[in-house]
């Protein structure tokens, strides 16, 4: 009955990427995104591919798995690339009625293909190497300064952590209700789409009722444990930056400047 539900795609491990502080990883992911967008020349794109290869290797996540993660985005990537191929004006290489393909268009389209693939693959690495708990904790501490402007940071992280906690419980409940309704003769796999959607109402209603009941009980339990919002709350696990975090940041700063240098010394042909 019990489903083993993993939310997200965290792969436990002990690579350097796994051991980095989640805050470092979040910040460096942003760094990487910027880097992808400033890689314009062929040389810096090659460098980007090398960097990505290095990152995947250091995360010890199988490369096939990372690329599989890109797969659902392929139509979007191809569409964007094609759009650029046909729309960028410049020196024509091929004309067919109103359609025109230019050298510039081909180049832009191809770079976009590489950049978008690298972007998605790179960003997926953080989700492969960081548990959702660690991500939430990292986000909470990164956002901590926002408390000054009365942004409810710890309430937000509490909400996220309770959501993560109860998703599997509710999923299990969902299965149980489906079984209970099937035992009463309900059918879920037949009929037209509208009928199918309708057949799920007798599942959703009990699910909501039970979620509310759980919420009331949870409220009592949380109140019993002296919860009164984020005020005066401390944390058992305080995130601490280790030397490896500073190394990683230094590494990214260097690659960042290298990318700029590649752009400058080997500029894009168009």
């Amino acid at each position: 009955m019990t489903r083993d539900i993993t939310i997200g795609q965290f792969l436990p491990g002990h690579s350097i990427m796994h051991r980095l502080d989640p805050r470092t990883k979040i910040v460096l992911t942003f760094f990487f995104i910027i880097q992808v967008f400033i890689s314009r020349s062929a040389a810096s794109l090659c460098f980007l591919i090398v960097l990505l290869g290095f990152l995947i290797a250091s995360s010890q996540v199988p490369a096939g798995k990372v690329l599989k993660g890109v797969r659902p985005m392929i139509p979007v990537i191809v569409f964007t690339a094609l759009l650029n191929i046909f729309y960028v004006s410049g020196e024509p290489v091929f004309t067919f009625f109103f359609l025109q393909i230019t050298k510039q268009g081909l180049f832009t389209g191809f770079t976009l293909l590489v950049r978008l693939t690298a972007l998605i693959a790179g960003c997926s690495l953080i989700t492969y190497t960081t548990s959702l708990n660690a991500l939430a904790a990292g986000l909470e501490q990164l956002l901590a300064p926002l408390r000054r402007i009365h942004f409810p940071v710890s309430e937000l992280s509490m909400t996220i952590s309770i959501t993560l906690r109860f998703l599997p419980t509710l999923a299990e409940e969902f299965d149980r209700i489906i079984d209970a309704q099937k035992a009463r003769g309900a059918e879920f796999n037949s009929g037209n789409p509208i009928k199918k959607i309708k057949s799920y109402f007798p599942v959703l209603l009990p699910l909501f009722m039970s979620a509310f009941r759980r919420a009331f009980e949870l409220t009592n339990a949380i109140e019993c444990r002296c919860y009164q919002g984020g005020k005066g709350r401390t944390k058992m696990n305080v995130l601490k930056l280790a030397p490896r975090d500073f190394c990683a940041i230094a590494f990214f700063v260097i690659t960042f400047f290298l990318t700029i240098a590649f752009n400058y010394y080997f500029p894009a042909p168009y």
Partner: protein, 281 residues
């Protein structure tokens, strides 16, 4: 010495329109001393859970008062201290655990109390050890059994270092093994740490482990005595549709047939000894 929990003329009703006689709680006068192990028994809807919620200010009296360690639950400013003094564990362990990692869940209460990270860590280890779940501290509660989850929930309360734990039918959703483990933990907390225990239960065997049994019916206290005395009120227990423990029923029936058996037998081995002695006579 003053009582840890004291109710004076406690009345409670969610809506105030009925006459006081039919309220959920009706004229409850009770005093629970430090270190006691009290069981509260009663049929469904008799108000025992409602009463328990008054012990740590989840509910406040409609009339009368509840004092916890001398603090009035009616006063909002006392609530934080009261909830630290009296912790509460509920029926469904799934609805009490808030984190996906055991030790983080146990750390929740001390974190709310604003403690130093090192102090939190030592309390978490201590609490998990007290319920015998230290080996599971990095596990996710989702993969634990019901009894293990309930023990983690107890540890989550213990980490506040309360003086009293109120348990509202903590074993009713557990299998026999989990039930035995949880009961052993509860007894241990009472013996080793001197914690005051208020156990709300349906099970006579569990109530038999307490030092004092309170029987409730329709918002009133019907009996308040040692388990030995309560279990021999067979007619009252039957009227309240509670299970009469097999042993006391056997002893009472044999006595009615003129066989001499001593009073106050609640445990199986006591009963066996008494029967052997009676047979030898």
């Amino acid at each position: 010495m003053s009582a840890l929990i004291e109710t004076k003329n406690l009345h409670f009703q969610y809506l105030h329109n009925d006459s006081q006689e039919s309220w959920i709680l009706n004229r409850i006068n009770l005093s629970i001393q430090k270190g006691e192990f009290v069981a509260i028994l009663g049929p469904n809807g008799c108000g025992k859970s409602t009463l328990a919620k008054h012990f740590n200010a989840l509910l406040v009296p409609s009339d009368g008062e509840v004092l916890v360690d001398g603090l009035d639950t009616q006063n909002d400013q006392n609530r934080f201290d009261i909830r630290q003094t009296v912790g509460m564990v509920f029926q469904n362990p799934d609805n009490q655990l808030i984190s996906t990692i055991v030790e983080e869940d146990v750390a929740f209460a001390p974190e709310n109390l604003g403690m130093d990270p090192l102090e939190i860590r030592s309390r978490v280890e201590w609490a998990l050890k007290a319920v015998d779940m230290l080996d599971y501290k990095r596990h996710t509660p989702f993969k634990l059994s019901g009894g293990q989850k309930q023990r983690v929930a107890i540890a989550g309360i213990l980490a506040m270092r309360p003086q009293c734990i109120v348990l509202d039918e903590p074993t009713s959703m557990l299998d026999p093994k989990g039930r035995a483990d949880v009961m052993r933990t509860i007894r241990r907390l009472n013996h080793e740490f001197g914690l005051t225990i208020v156990l709300i239960t349906h099970h006579m065997e569990e109530a038999a482990q307490a030092k004092r049994v309170i029987v409730m019916d329709r918002g009133k206290i019907e009996l308040d005595d040692s388990p030995e005395n309560v279990f021999y009120q067979i007619d009252l227990l039957k009227r309240l549709k509670l299970d009469v423990p097999q042993i006391s029923e056997l002893v009472v029936r044999l006595r009615r047939r003129g066989i001499h058996l001593p009073d106050q037998i609640t445990q199986v081995d006591q009963c066996v000894d008494a029967l052997v002695a009676a047979l030898e006579e």
